[in-house]
């Protein structure tokens, strides 16, 4: 099995998608980012150069162009780079793409994939560190995919490109270098299937995106203190696999929800609500929420670190949930 980093795996998933479906096209460049993994994009350019276009900086129009193309039978993959640039296309994501199927009474769908890099990346400051997926999740009609490993990235990308719905594939740019063995052949991973990344007995950490990696690190630290932490990666926020989450919390009896979006109306809040409203009696202790505090992301490195819901905050939250 070849080793791939997450960027290479994403590209591999895209390549399989373009091979499988002649309607698939690419709008955008820098799909593997502009960091050390950027060269992963070369394979895509070599095999499918004629199906890639490099758009001007016109995010709103590009989003809706992608949506229109999708409505008319194409399967565009639209790359934005830093997620905040897609704020320019808010209406196009939310009010157009997401509503098309419903408004047409099912006549039409908009199978467009939007690809974004989110999150605190080091010196991004208030305008380049946004993690908009909780805001997207507040709108029906969009599928939201958050790959955290190379294997998942490839299989989920394949499903995104095959999906009939507008789909947002959004990942923390700092995960692009994660490396593991990835099957060389074509495969997909279905949406709505969370995965238990680590088995544990004492507390369930339910997480997505970057926070999954931090939670696994926190679990290692807590293991040395004798706490057994289960880590669940939701993988897709919409659809959300509540069954797997609830099953984990029923097993451990304690819950920490952690995610990089804001604490208020963020992903962690929704995760807790979905457990509390379905399995309240399974909880032995009050669930703990870890998210970004309600401040723009500051530029200064120490202040930036203070808003990041990283490993240490997860460790502390698990101790609280377990009354340690």
């Amino acid at each position: 099995m070849p080793q791939m980093n997450l960027a290479e795996a994403l590209i591999d998933g895209l390549i399989w998608s373009l091979r499988a479906d002649p309607r698939a096209t690419i709008i955008g460049r820098g799909i593997a980012g502009h960091g050390p993994e950027h060269a992963a994009e070369d394979r895509l350019k070599q095999e499918f150069g004629s199906r890639i276009i490099d758009p001007p900086t016109s995010e709103a129009a590009v989003a809706q162009l992608g949506t229109g193309a999708a409505m008319a039978g194409a399967r565009p993959f639209v790359h934005y780079g830093t997620a905040v640039f897609a704020y320019e296309a808010w209406n196009q994501f939310i009010n157009e793409a997401a509503n098309i199927h419903y408004m047409s009474n099912g006549q039409l769908s908009a199978p467009v994939t939007f690809h974004l890099f989110h999150g605190i990346r080091g010196g991004g400051g208030p305008q380049h560190s946004g993690s908009p997926y909780a805001m997207y999740a507040n709108n029906p009609g969009l599928e939201i995919v958050l790959p955290t490993s190379p294997r998942d990235a490839k299989g989920l990308m394949r499903s995104a490109m095959a999906s009939n719905n507008p789909t947002i594939v959004i990942q923390n740019a700092q995960l692009l270098g994660l490396t593991e063995d990835v099957p060389a052949e074509d495969y997909s991973i279905p949406f709505g299937k969370a995965v238990v990344k680590r088995d544990g007995r004492d507390v369930s950490v339910i997480a997505c995106s970057r926070s999954v990696i931090d939670a696994l690190e926190a679990a290692d630290i807590l293991e040395k203190e004798g706490l057994s932490v289960e880590v669940v990666d939701i993988r897709t926020l919409a659809p959300l696999d509540v069954d797997t989450i609830v099953a984990s919390v029923e097993k451990t009896g304690r819950m920490v929800a952690v995610d990089e979006t804001y604490e208020i109306c963020g992903v962690a809040s929704e995760l807790i609500a979905s457990v509390v409203t379905r399995a309240f009696s399974a909880l032995k202790t009050q669930p703990v929420r870890v998210g970004r505090p309600m401040t723009p992301v500051p530029f200064s490195p120490p202040l930036e670190a203070a808003v990041n819901p990283g490993t240490q905050k997860i460790v502390d939250a698990c101790r609280r949930a377990c009354k340690r």
Binding site: T57, Q127, P298, F299, P301, L303
Partner: protein
């Protein structure tokens, strides 16, 4: 190839003004060089975009403004801040995220705001400053003032719908805005011609009835002359103008970009058009100052900026308890 015009002769300005513009350009050049070194040594968080090569567009435009006038800048904005009078130590400290930075280390290079000097800020979003500038001009009109507002943006922003929407509004309401496009031929790693249609960039302003011209942005005198006209026109209540300054960034899109997408010949040709060489030559040719004095000015700029680096670098970080300050006013 860039849609650049060859220099069309160049207007001449008052000797004292030229001297002061030259000095400001030198200070910007060496400020940027100091930032480049700091960034290369890992002292600058995130990505930093330098304006070396574009000093004439920064300085020539802002020299035509009064202190009370406004500017809105973009991600390549240190030169605008300095030309508008920003304290260089505070600016450098902001770029390093320090507590003594102009925005307390919250904003970094891409969001420096300096209201004391009418600077609505550098901006991390392509085209972000354009509506802010139009808004500032609207506010000036509402308070019965003839303050002028300049917005700077790159060629990349030419294709943002917001620019055209704002040009339309500025024209119908005769807002005192000067739209200044610093056309350095590339938006990130993409050449302007690959993403920008049409035979005429000024045409993009002319369709709204906005006086529009394309000038040599490497010639500070030509830039000043165009700005003088546009600023006077705006202040007199006639409305917006559009100036496209053809220029070149000597460095990459950000520090660390190796510029493999640029043609070496083109780079060499633009290097010869360095705006500092040009104004130095004009100063000595006109006998305004001696070549020795010009060299001394450059030494002074180098010393001024280099002397700041260590102090700023060792400055204190913002305190953790300030984190939630200023989220609401």
């Amino acid at each position: 190839m860039n849609k650049a015009l060859k220099n069309a002769g160049g207007a001449s300005v008052d000797g004292r003004l030229l001297l002061s513009m030259h000095r400001t350009m030198l200070r910007i050049r060496h400020f940027e060089e100091t930032i480049r070194r700091l960034a290369a040594s890992g002292a600058v968080p995130g990505l930093v975009h330098l304006c070396a090569g574009q000093e004439a567009t920064n300085v020539g435009i802002i020299a035509a403004l009064e202190d009370r006038d406004f500017i809105a800048s973009h991600h390549r904005g240190h030169g605008h801040c300095i030309a508008k009078g920003a304290p260089v130590e505070g600016l450098m400290a902001e770029i390093l995220g320090k507590a003594s930075g102009m925005c307390g280390g919250r904003s970094g290079s891409m969001h420096v705001i300096d209201m004391e000097r009418g600077n609505l800020g550098t901006n991390g979003i392509v085209g972000g400053g354009i509506p802010l500038a139009a808004g500032a001009a609207l506010a000036a009109r509402a308070r019965g003032s003839d303050d002028v507002c300049v917005c700077f943006f790159g060629d990349g922003a030419l294709n943002q719908g917001l620019l055209h929407e704002c040009m339309n509004m500025a024209a119908i309401w005769k807002l005192a805005v000067v739209f200044v496009c610093e056309n350095n031929g590339y938006g990130e790693f993409t050449a302007i011609d690959d993403v920008t249609a049409g035979p005429s960039l000024p045409g993009r302003g002319e369709v709204f009835g906005i006086p529009s011209e394309m000038i040599d942005g490497m010639d500070v005198q030509a830039v000043y002359a165009a700005a003088r006209k546009a600023v006077d026109y705006a202040r007199a209540g006639h409305g917006p103008s559009f100036i496209i300054c053809n220029t070149w960034r000597f460095g990459g899109h950000h520090v660390g970009d190796k510029q493999e997408y640029k043609d070496d010949e083109e780079t060499r040709a633009w290097r010869l058009r360095d705006p500092l060489l040009r104004s130095a030559k004009a100063l000595s040719a006109a006998g305004i100052v001696s070549e020795e004095a010009i060299a001394q000015m450059e030494q002074d700029a180098i010393s001024e900026m280099a002397a700041l680096a260590d102090g700023v670098r060792n400055g204190s970080e913002p305190a953790a308890q300030t984190l939630l300050e200023h989220v609401y006013g």
